[in-house]
């Protein structure tokens, strides 16, 4: 156990899996950085330095810089996975799915079904998401609901360094295609993380806070905001359960429904847009299966139905914040008082 950043935890997961299994390879734009140049052949290790050091350790055959053309290298990773390798491909920013989505949507996700269960595609797509970097509309989106919608894909949203290492190891060992979302604003967040390899199973939510009054379901970076909100609210005598589903596909519906049955109240926090997003999805799930246990209407805390703005003044109000979560919890509880008053 030692203190590691989200970045280091992700790097360590890849390194340990590449040491364990030589079929695991890494490819992407500048995952080493410097191929063909006269200088350092591991100049970048990805734009955020997440893959730094892997090229010197595993060599250019297993850590491959690609050309800057996502259709072909994401598709090549899929083809390599279909024929015996276990590639990790870095789609630098998830926004770039717009360039190469066919290879994910119509190829990778569909092989197993279209080929009658005979295809195994152990592909891990690592990608950065999320706002807060002043990177504006084309480098800040969440988009995991889009991938969650597609049968055949698994979708992972690690909320801290511990989660990131265990979930990435599971992703690499998994025989299905996995899209692994790394929040770019979390790379420097540190915590104690085991040094040895470990895998966190998919589809098993993590309950990070236990309380009686309100269930908060949050995704990715928002889990940390929800925890902070819960801690603030606890000081005011309000106790919240916080659920981190860890994966949106598969989704641990059982834990969500159980905790809502206990608290009778639900707030969902999602950094994605509200339409067809995870917040609405969880609300629909609870409305369908746990309606009778609800004591108050469900509240959703999401980003607005707007592109991510550039100006810091705008981006800061775009991102769902701790204060908005606390206000949603208060509003849900306030419903009881209103009903009692009537």
């Amino acid at each position: 156990m030692s203190k590691k950043s989200y970045r280091q935890a992700i790097n360590e997961a890849m390194r340990q899996e590449m040491e364990r299994d030589e079929r695991v390879i890494l490819m992407g734009e500048d995952v080493a950085g410097g191929t063909g140049a006269a200088g350092d052949q591991d100049a970048w290790g990805g734009p955020m330095g997440v893959t730094k050091g892997l090229r010197p350790q595993f060599g250019p055959d297993r850590v491959l810089d690609t050309h800057l053309a996502e259709i072909s290298f994401v598709g090549a990773a899929a083809g390599a996975a279909l024929t015996g390798l276990r590639p990790i491909v870095e789609l630098m920013f998830v926004d770039f799915m717009g360039v190469c989505f066919d290879q994910i949507l119509n190829q990778t996700a569909k092989f197993r079904y279209m080929f009658g269960g005979k295809a195994v595609t152990p592909l891990t797509i690592r990608t950065m998401y999320g706002a807060g970097f002043r990177a504006a509309s084309q480098h800040s989106q969440c988009l995991y609901p889009v991938f969650t919608h597609i049968p055949g894909l698994k979708v992972v949203l690690p909320s801290n360094a511990y989660e990131a290492k265990g979930l990435l190891i599971q992703a690499i060992r998994d025989d299905d295609p996995v899209v692994f979302f790394e929040h770019k604003a979390m790379y420097d967040d540190e915590m104690e993380v085991p040094d040895e390899p470990y895998a966190i199973p998919f589809g098993e939510a993590n309950v990070t806070r236990e309380g009686d009054d309100v269930t908060i379901v949050a995704f990715g970076r928002m889990v940390n905001f929800a925890n902070e909100a819960a801690d603030n609210l606890a000081r005011r005598g309000i106790s919240c359960t916080v659920v981190d589903p860890r994966t949106t596909s598969p989704l641990d519906t059982e834990t969500i429904l159980e905790t809502v049955a206990e608290t009778g109240r639900l707030v969902v926090v999602d950094e994605a847009h509200p339409r067809c997003g995870m917040a609405g999805d969880i609300a629909g799930l609870v409305a369908e299966h746990a309606f009778d246990s609800l004591k108050a209407p469900i509240k959703l805390v999401t980003a607005p139905h707007a592109p991510v703005p550039f100006s810091p003044a705008l981006e800061d109000i775009y991102i769902p914040g701790v204060d908005k979560i606390e206000a949603a919890v208060a509003a849900v509880l306030d419903h009881d008082r209103k009903v009692a008053a009537e």
């Binding site: 072909s72 598709g75 083809g79 390798l85 066919d102 197993r112 279209m114 080929f115 005979k118």
Partner: protein, 324 residues
């Protein structure tokens, strides 16, 4: 033609049988589709046989191919069994893909056939991946991308030329140019030339008469040998004709009747047959016997497929994930 004629008698016989099997299969599917017994979209390879077979005669179990909408011929050329193929085209449970893929997504990974593809040009990146696997695992395998003149304008294909080149992958791009991207003429829709495009990316590139099995066999042999020996990717521009429409049901009015007639008169299988009989390599009677045998085989698998059970409701939700 010289190098093709160096094929053994058995190899020539095998090439003939493969081409005849494709033709018989496609003609049978054509008839059945018209009768309304086959669901969905079907695109036939009749007339293009010399390309798929001329290329795949060089391949073995180490090698992978990716195909197009028009994939039946590539399957048969790569050694996929016609019985399970026919079941698949009819959507039957015992089909090659359990009835979940159909004509446009037919695949047999055990034979290195990575799938027909409903998305034009999508096979090119996949083939780069298969070639990367072969290269890193040192299997000696090569990967072939079959694609049409329509696909040749897709970014996916053009990017793949570049990726195969910079990674020095054992890939051969086989542009099967039947003159039409659906109903639009390649003479109009393709800027420059296929050969010029390949050369622009640094790929050794050749134009090949796809009506001549021996020409395809020779050119493919050179390109595949180059790939196998570490010499990197190549491109073949194979010019050929499709006998039927883009899809079954296509009235084909964009082609003049004499154009279709001329294409049918230049039948690559008849040309092949004529050459090997004239050169006294195989007796006509032997080829006639093969024709009858293949006709009976296809008829039998058609009858079996039509009588076979459909998948059931229990099959709807299987084969999505390995584990979920």
């Amino acid at each position: 033609m010289a190098s093709g004629m160096q094929l053994s008698r058995d190899e020539l016989g095998a090439a003939y049988r493969r081409m005849r099997t494709i033709r018989e299969f496609e003609d049978a599917v054509h008839t059945e589709f018209a009768a309304g017994t086959i669901p969905g979209f079907v695109h036939l390879y009749a007339g293009e046989e010399a390309s798929g077979v001329g290329v795949c005669m060089h391949l073995d179990e180490r090698d992978a191919i990716a195909s197009t909408h028009r994939g039946h011929g590539h399957c048969i050329a790569k050694g996929v069994e016609v019985g399970p193929m026919m079941h698949e085209i009819f959507g039957r449970k015992e089909g090659l893909c359990g009835g979940k893929g159909g004509s446009m997504h037919i695949a047999d990974l055990s034979k290195g056939m990575l799938g027909a593809n409903g998305i034009v040009g999508a096979g090119a990146p996949l083939v780069c991946g298969a070639a990367l696997t072969a290269k890193l695992l040192k299997t000696g395998g090569v990967a072939i991308c079959f694609y049409g003149d329509g696909a040749s304008n897709q970014g996916a294909v053009l990017e793949s030329y570049n990726l195969a080149k910079i990674w020095n992958l054992p890939v051969v791009f086989v542009a099967e140019d039947n003159g039409y991207a659906e109903a639009t003429a390649s003479a109009w829709s393709v800027g420059g030339t296929q050969k010029g495009r390949g050369e622009g990316f640094g790929l050794p590139s050749r134009e090949v008469d796809g009506g001549d099995f021996f020409a395809v066999y020779e050119a493919a042999g050179e390109a595949i040998e180059r790939a196998r020996s570490g010499g990197g990717p190549s491109l073949l521009h194979v010019k050929l004709n499709r006998f039927y429409g883009h899809f079954e049901g296509d009235a084909g009015t964009y082609r003049l009747p004499e154009e279709v007639e001329a294409a049918r008169n230049a039948d690559p299988i008849e040309l092949f047959r004529q050459r090997i009989v004239e050169a006294s390599l195989i007796d006509a009677s032997e080829l006639d016997a093969a024709d009858r045998e293949i006709e009976a085989e296809i008829r039998a698998c058609m009858v079996a497929a039509k009588a076979a059970p459909m998948p059931g409701e229990a099959d709807l939700m299987t084969d999505i994930y390995v584990a979920y």
